[in-house]
């Protein structure tokens, strides 16, 4: 009986949370009626009053300093970041979590984006021949402002037959390491493919059918149902392979320098697998994207990894993005903006990513990241050393060296380096 009451209470919270969440997301300016709010508070209060676990606080401090040499200019920039996680388990099957990020930028907080782009790309827009020279522009400032924001805030409840997560939550999809064609919610940073990703407003329902099979439904609300992202994933396992099938539909919004943004309805049919043959890890992830009012395209990632007896780890991944351009001269300013904003996976069509890691000792890891743009033959080489200086404190140094002609993706930059310190608490 107590269990039944608890379940009813939980469902009441989730239902109210979901209704409020959807309303807030779809109609951010509407006045929320008082009663559901009160019901949530009352229900949450009852659960928290029953809780035996204290509210946990944890997180990390991260400081980074970067120097980069590009287009005959040297930029110094960096930031100090504090991430504070809060987590409460009012019941063993319920988690309420949130995290607050404080970011303070230092040194050059405004970069000229044009320094990071080939002149042939921005000249027609900023310095068109038809305009007199005194009207030409040579700056497109990119400013990093100090921020304080609530990244994730969600409630997760585990029922016997399903799990539900409501709120702003981190969603990571796919089997790829550097790129994820089926992940419509995130964009990975080239030099930090394993860095945490920002939260997504969503309701996520996960229904397991056994230990390795399950259905995953994600609804990320926007101004109305048509503009909201809907995703359905079926996961299963066969032998040592995990398989995923995905369907998604959403409005794909990209930045446009003139129009502000362009929008296309995007329907995605995708699939992925991860497994191994004779100790060699193998994975692939692909998606076919049908775009309303634009050309359909597909993306494919295939990868492999292996760990040698001495701890040497090697990973290789290949990306084919039909949406990317095959010739660097065809890249326009918008494509760069979209890439910087994480709206497209790559500028061009074919890439290779390599990652090598070797433990020099229990506390020191030496690694080597490398991106090669096969479409324009430019390469980014990034050796990195990470030292666990103390328990919960790590220091890493990464060097960046770029090879390629000036009018190529990576060749435009000369070199760079960064030092990052992270301390967990």
């Amino acid at each position: 009986m107590r269990k039944l009451i608890k379940n009813i209470l939980l469902l009441s919270i989730i239902t109210n949370f979901s209704i409020l969440f959807t309303l807030f997301s779809c109609f951010p300016n509407i006045l929320i009626p008082r009663s559901p709010n009160l019901t949530i508070l009352q229900s949450t209060n009852i659960l928290i009053a029953q809780s035996t676990n204290p509210l946990s606080f944890f997180g990390y401090y991260e400081g980074e300093f970067d120097q980069v040499r590009v287009s005959d200019a040297t930029y110094n920039y960096g930031y100090n970041k504090l991430r504070l996680d809060l987590e409460e388990n009012p019941d063993e099957n319920v988690t309420i979590a949130a995290n607050l990020n404080i970011l303070k930028y230092d040194n050059n907080t405004t970069l000229n984006l044009l320094d990071f782009l080939p002149k042939s790309i921005w000249k027609p827009i900023f310095q068109p021949e038809e305009l007199p020279e005194e009207n030409w522009l040579d700056e497109f400032p990119l400013t990093f402002s100090d921020t304080l924001y609530l990244d994730n805030i969600y409630l997760r409840a585990n029922f016997k037959k399903f799990d539900i997560t409501v709120g702003k939550q981190q969603i990571s999809l796919g089997t790829g390491y550097a790129w994820n064609p089926i992940d419509i919610f995130n964009f990975k940073q080239l030099l930090d493919p394993t860095y945490e990703q920002t939260g997504v407003n969503a309701i996520r329902l996960e229904v397991p059918f056994g230990s390795r099979t399950g259905l995953d439904m994600i609804y990320s609300p926007n101004i109305d149902f048509d503009n909201s992202a809907k995703m359905l994933q079926l996961k299963t396992g066969i032998g040592s392979f995990d398989l995923i099938g995905s369907l998604a539909q959403y409005n794909w919004i990209r930045t446009d320098f003139v129009l502000g943004e362009i929008k296309n309805e995007r329907n995605l049919i995708g699939g992925a697998f991860v497994g191994e043959i004779a100790g060699i890890g193998l994975w692939a992830e692909g998606a076919w994207n049908q775009l309303e009012g634009n050309e359909n395209f597909s993306e494919l990632v295939i990868g492999s990894d292996y760990t040698f007896e001495n701890g040497l780890y090697i990973l290789m991944e290949y990306l084919y993005n039909q949406n990317g351009v095959s010739d660097f001269e065809k890249i326009d300013f918008n494509r760069f903006l979209q890439y910087f904003n994480g709206e497209i996976h790559s500028l061009m069509q074919q890439y290779v990513f390599n990652y090598i890691n070797y433990p020099l000792s229990d506390l020191v890891q030496l690694s080597f990241l490398n991106y090669a743009n096969l479409s324009d033959n430019s390469i980014a080489i990034n050796p990195q050393i990470t030292w666990e200086a103390f328990q919960d404190v790590s220091v890493s140094f990464m060097g960046n060296y770029f090879i390629g002609e000036d009018d190529t993706e990576f060749g435009l930059q000369d070199w760079g380096w960064r030092i990052r310190i992270r301390g967990y608490f």
Partner: protein
């Protein structure tokens, strides 16, 4: 007459001696029998434990971890979740099929990644225990051929010294192991793990053996890594064998919890 009686007595004594020798010979267990009995004690149907792990690196620095560990099907399934320190909190590992299939969960990115089995002999969180050491359950009895090398005194007790040689086709974790099995209850007290060159790579020392719910349990296990000069001590804070995993507990769903 006296001579006849004497001869008969000598015959009887000889007969008794021979029989006792024969039965004593029969009482010596084979290496495979010893490993069978040892793995039966070590690999209980299911268990749930809270463990503290202290890693002493080759430079002498100590790193302390705490994790919960769940096992089922005689160790064929294992799930570990780190509780401390902050940098590792929430990271979890799921090992199935005696660590042939490994999934790892990264709480910072909420991502589950499947590891290829080539990584199963790698260190878990920089400790001297590999995934295979922690998750291989009772695979030992099928992957090795064992020989009883005789008796040896260790830690004040009588032990059987057993040599286990890996069967190449079954891809054993180590080519050879030498185990000292306590004669009284077939509990291992020390295991030497050899590398491909025939050198002792690591030694596992089991101590503070107490009876928990009727089952001998080493509350301290120290893995000494001779090759690297490091050591890892695992202290059992709490353990129970009276635990039945809920349906589909050993799954990606539990990893994410």
């Amino acid at each position: 007459m006296i001579n006849k009686m004497l001869i008969r007595r000598i015959h009887t004594v000889f007969l008794i001696f021979s029989i006792s020798m024969l039965s004593a010979q029969e009482a010596i267990p084979t290496g495979d029998e010893l490993i069978e009995k040892m793995t039966a004690i070590m690999s209980q149907e299911a268990s749930k434990a809270l463990i503290q792990q202290v890693i002493t690196t080759s430079s002498g620095r100590e790193r302390t971890f705490e994790f919960e560990m769940f096992t089922a099907d005689e160790g064929e399934k294992t799930l570990m979740r780190y509780l401390k320190p902050s940098a590792a909190k929430g990271q979890a590992f799921l090992m199935l099929n005696n660590a042939d299939d490994i999934w790892t969960y990264f709480p910072r990115t909420k991502r589950v990644r499947k590891l290829a089995s080539s990584s199963k002999n790698q260190k878990v969180q920089g400790s001297d225990f590999s995934y295979e050491d922690l998750g291989s359950g009772d695979a030992w009895k099928n992957e090795y051929v064992s020989t009883n090398l005789g008796q040896e005194k260790y830690a004040g007790g009588d032990c059987w010294k057993v040599e286990s040689i890996g069967i190449l086709e079954k891809d054993p974790a180590y080519p050879k192991m030498i185990v000292l099995v306590r004669q009284s209850d077939f509990y291992p007290l020390s295991i030497d793990y050899y590398d491909d060159n025939g050198n002792i790579e690591k030694t596992l020392i089991l101590s503070n053996i107490e009876i928990v719910e009727g089952i001998p349990t080493a509350l301290k296990m120290q893995m000494v890594n001779h090759a690297e000069g490091s050591a890892t001590l695992m202290k059992t804070i709490s353990i129970t064998y009276d635990w039945a995993p809920p349906d589909n507990f050993f799954s990606e769903r539990t990893l994410r919890k």
